[in-house]
Symmetry: C2
Subunit: 223 residues, 2 copies
């Protein structure tokens, strides 16, 4: 899910005219508040009014829903540069929490949409970010029909695309978070990772740090 956003903080090739989200959230009319959140703190809850759009400046965020019986599904992780909080209606359809100590930039949704009606460039950016989100959701659906190993590998490759270090991943989330994102149990995630380590496909220096040892094999396992 973290794959295709065009909103990383990586340098852009010169001459690339990409309508990054910089202008949307960087617009003088729109500067919002940069607010710190503690680990585990709620940013917004399901069914709360969706008055803001959010951008991760530092840290990471999980967006999730809880079923009646307590099962939790994490719909997305948002890392620095990602924008979230888009909603169909006037209310949030899921909750969002900081995974680690995070800084989040808040911008009034009204302000953005109002500006979008005047400035086609802003409108176009909103569209781009939203369809990218749609794409990520579709990818998530495809992920959920795969088997456990494929899910874990897909997840690792997604995470690898975000960080700057190509083959080394620093996970901001717990095994439980990964499990709830992949639709697996914590035990299955753990077992799958040790299995990959045993086969020397990855290395686990610590539980939160993963080194991709055999990228081509991982790509193959990813389908």
């Amino acid at each position: 899910m973290l794959v295709r956003t065009a909103t990383t903080s990586e340098p852009r090739p010169a001459g690339h005219t990409a309508l990054g989200t910089e202008s949307m959230f960087g617009s003088v009319e729109l500067v919002g508040a940069s607010i710190p959140f503690a680990r585990g703190e709620e940013i917004y809850g399901e069914a709360e009014p969706a008055d803001y759009l959010y951008k991760v400046i530092k840290g990471s965020v999980r967006a999730y829903k809880v079923l009646h019986d307590g099962r939790r599904q994490i719909c997305a992780f948002y890392l620095p540069g990602d924008i979230f909080g888009f909603e169909a209606g006037e209310e949030h359809s899921f909750s969002a929490e900081a995974i680690a100590p995070s800084t989040i930039l808040l911008v009034k949704r009204n302000a953005v949409t109002a500006l979008a009606t005047k400035d086609p460039a802003i409108a176009r950016q909103l569209w781009t970010v939203t369809t990218a989100e749609l794409q990520k959701m579709q990818d998530h659906v495809m992920l959920l029909i795969k088997n456990a190993q494929e899910r874990v590998v897909s997840f690792l490759l997604q995470m690898a695309q975000h960080g700057p270090g190509a083959d080394e991943i620093e996970l901001p989330m717990s095994r439980q978070d990964i499990a709830d994102y992949l639709g697996l149990t914590i035990e299955t995630v753990s077992r799958t990772l040790t299995q990959l380590e045993t086969r020397a496909t990855i290395a686990l220096p610590t539980s939160r740090r993963i080194v991709l040892r055999d990228r081509s094999l991982l790509d193959r396992l990813n389908s």
Copy 2:
């Protein structure tokens, strides 16, 4: 997934100012071609240029992706009134086929987006339809973490919201299509349906026609 679109052909209450998709696809500048498709015929394929937006006039459509090994995941069904073909990039990220003989209205995507930059109302509609699509995808993700019975029940209730007959559903798609949408096998779908019938929760006059006998129980099973 078929739940929350505001684009059914049902009569709207008088005085309701909903920006239906009527104006978007009905705009004089935008009238496109109404094209007939045979059962099983491809409307567009994955990775083809996404030059059009589509609206189902008659019939039904399945949008799907196929994994390397042949597993097919149906991402969405589109019924009369539904609009589809939104994409993040310049290419379709999945394929679309007519399930039954269908009439599809095609409109140049360029024309719509160009018009959207001039007409905020059109832009707003595009936004609404896209976030509704996003919502449906999220619902689909939540569906895929449920057990077989819950998935089938969710599906039936979704389908029931579309048709005018509250408790009687005419399915346009095969068991295989349902299975590929729910991430189950055809056998599991069939067994679950017979099980619901045995318990008098539904009736199956024919395999394509389903009567919801105990709506409150179904609602409870849906979570």
